[in-house]
Symmetry: C2
C-alpha cells in the first residue's frame, strides 16, 4: 500500500455563484463538498489508479467528522470489507477498478479547517478562502508519530503533503522523512517554504516543487539551475513541475524533460497532486523514469482538463499517456 | 416562555480577510461560527433580556450538529440543569441574567445550510455567500407541525422567522399563524415575499417588515401608506422598520413613530432580529406600545453599534432606552 500524510487536512467546499460582486449578497447556486488537503487528493488519484492507499494526518471537530464521512463514501466497498493497512495487497495495476482508501487519521481536539472556492460562473474565475488549521498539541503530534511508524511498516512508499497546521514545529517533515528513510520506505515530500527547506536536508527520495516553490527555495527562476540546486540541498531526485511546460526531472539515474503534447486550458487545481500520484504509483510498480514522468504529466494534464476541480479525466489521461514527449539530457549536461 | 420558529436555520460563519480580491487566494485571518437564522438570533437577544426561549425549526447533517452544539454552548447552565419548555417560569424581567435557550429543533435528513460573511478589513465591507437550505420532506414538515403544536401549549408568544427551505410549501407560515391563533398565542411573523403575503392573510398579531419588504408587499415606498396597506391585508399590527429612521407602528391601539436619538454608523446585521426580540419581550411583559417601541428601537440601534455582528451592546442599549423619541399620531390620522 501507499501511505499519504496530510497534516493540514481540509473540508473543501466549492460554491458556484452567477457572479462574485464584492460587498453584495450571493445565493450559492451549486455547491459541492469533498475531503481535501494535498495527501487526500493524492490518495483519491492513487485509488482511481488501482493502488491501495492509507491516509494519515489530523482531523478534528465537526468539520473533521464531515471530512471522514466523505472519505468513507469515496472508498469502494469490497465484499470482504474495506481493506486496512494490513489487508493483503492486490496486484496494484493501474487501470483496474478503484482500490480502497483507508482512514488512519489521528483525531485532534481542534476543528479541521474549511477551504472555500467561489467559482464565478460569468468569468470562470475562482476566489479562494482558506481557514487556518487547528492548533495541534504536543500529545497529538506524538500520537501522529506513533501511528506513522506503525503504518510505515506496511508501506511501499509514502508521500508527505502540504502545509503544517499551527502548533507543529517547522522541522516536522524532516522528522517524518528520517523515519521513512530508517524504515527503508521511499519518501516523496511535497510542501513549500521553510518546512520544505528543512525537509530536504533530511534527504527525501523525491521532492516535486513547482516553479514558485523552487524559486523560493533556491533564489533562481532558471529551471535547470534551480532544480540542480534543490538536489544539492539533499533531495535524491527533484521533479520540478513547470505548469503547461511539463516537468523537469533531475535524478541519480539521469535528467529528463517531459512535456504534454499540447498546451491545455482548464483549472490547474490538483494537477500537482495528480503528478505526485503518478510518480509514486510508477515508483511502486517499478516503472522506468521516462514511464513515471509520462504518467505524471498525463495525469496532471488530464486533471487540468477535468470539469471537476481536482479530478482527472480518465479518457483524456489514456489518450495523452502515449503522447507525452520525453527528452533525455546527455550525461555531460548532468 | 417565548417560542421562536426558524425553518431555515444556518451555521453562520464570519471570515475576516485583509482585503477581498476576486480571483485571488485568501488566508482567513479571523473566523467565528455561530448558530444562525433569524429565529435563533431573536432567541439569543431574548435570552440576554432574561426571557426563557425555546427554538424550533429544522437542523440536519454535520452542519446541523455543529449548529446545535454551538446553541447548547450559548445557553447558560443552571444549577438545576437547563430549563426545558416545562421548567417553571422565572420572573422574566429584562436586565436579569441570561435565561436558557432550549433546543427543540426537528432533525432532518438534509444538511443545514452555511452562510459566510467575508469581512474586508481594509474597507469594512461584507460580502455574503448563502448556501441553499436542505430539501425538507413531507414527513419532516409533519414532524415540525406536531412539535410546534406541543410547544404552543406552553408559549406566551411565538415568532415565525425567516425564509423557507426548499420543499416547504409557500403557505407554511399561514398554517403556523392559524395554529397559534387557534391556541390563543400572540404570533409575530417576520418573513418576506410570497410567504409573507400568504402569512398575513392568516391574520398574525404582528408583522415587522422593513422598507423593501413593505414595498414588495404593497407596491408603495411611502411608509404610512404602505404600513396601512399591510394592515388592511390582515395583520393586526404592523411595525415597519425604517432603518436609521426608527420604526412606524400601526396598531389597533394607535399609531406611533419611534426614532433613535441620533443616526448611528455600524453593521445593521441582526438589527431587525433584535427589534423582534424587543417587541415580543415587551408584549409578554405587558408593556405599553410606546415602551415596546422604545425597547425595539434601542435594541436594534445597540445591535448596529456592537462590534460583533448580530450582538447588541448592552451599555449602549441601556443608555439609548430612555432617549428613544416617541411620537403619537392623532386619532384622526389613523
Amino acid at each position: 500500500m501507499i501511505l499519504t500524510v496530510t497534516l493540514n487536512t481540509a473540508l473543501d467546499l466549492t460554491y458556484g455563484v452567477p457572479e462574485l460582486v464584492p460587498h453584495a449578497s450571493h445565493r450559492v447556486s451549486e455547491m459541492s463538498e469533498r475531503p481535501g488537503g494535498k495527501g487526500l487528493n493524492v490518495a483519491r488519484v492513487l485509488s482511481a489508479l488501482g493502488h491501495r492507499t492509507v491516509v494519515t494526518g489530523f482531523a478534528g471537530g465537526a468539520t473533521g467528522t464531515a471530512l471522514r464521512e466523505l472519505l468513507a463514501d469515496l472508498s469502494p466497498q469490497e465484499p470482504g470489507g474495506p481493506g486496512g493497512p494490513d489487508a493483503p495487497h492486490g496486484p496494484d495495476t493501474p487501470g483496474t477498478a478503484p482500490a480502497p482508501i483507508t482512514d488512519a487519521l489521528v483525531t485532534v481536539a481542534g476543528n479541521t479547517r474549511r477551504t472555500i472556492a467561489v467559482v464565478d460562473r460569468t468569468t470562470g474565475d475562482t476566489t479562494q478562502l482558506n481557514e487556518p488549521g487547528p492548533l495541534v498539541g504536543a500529545d497529538e503530534w506524538a500520537a501522529l508519530l506513533g501511528r506513522y511508524e506503525e503504518l510505515l511498516a506496511g508501506a511501499d512508499a509514502v508521500a508527505l503533503c502540504g502545509s503544517l497546521p499551527p502548533g507543529i514545529h517547522v522541522g516536522a517533515y524532516a522528522e517524518l522523512v528520517r523515519s521513512a528513510r530508517t524504515a527503508g520506505v521511499p519518501v516523496l515530500l511535497d510542501t513549500s517554504g521553510e518546512p520544505l527547506r528543512r525537509g530536504i536536508a533530511a534527504r527525501p527520495d523525491l521532492i516535486k516543487p513547482n516553479a514558485d516553490e523552487l524559486a523560493q527555495l533556491t533564489g533562481s527562476r532558471e529551471p535547470m539551475r534551480a532544480t540542480r540546486d534543490a538536489r544539492r540541498r539533499g533531495a535524491h531526485g527533484v521533479i520540478a513541475s513547470l505548469g503547461p511546460d511539463g516537468m523537469l526531472a533531475v535524478t541519480p539515474d539521469g535528467v529528463w524533460q517531459a512535456a504534454p503534447p499540447a498546451r491545455v486550458l482548464g483549472n490547474p487545481t490538483g494537477a500537482g497532486d495528480s503528478a505526485v500520484a503518478g510518480l509514486l504509483s510508477g515508483l511502486v510498480e517499478g516503472l522506468s523514469w521516462p514511464d513515471r514522468l509520462r504518467r505524471a504529466v498525463a495525469l496532471s494534464t488530464a486533471t487540468v482538463l477535468s470539469p471537476t476541480a481536482g479530478d482527472f479525466d480518465r479518457a483524456a489521461y489514456e489518450e495523452l499517456l502515449p503522447r507525452v514527449g520525453i527528452e533525455e539530457h546527455a550525461p555531460a549536461a548532468r
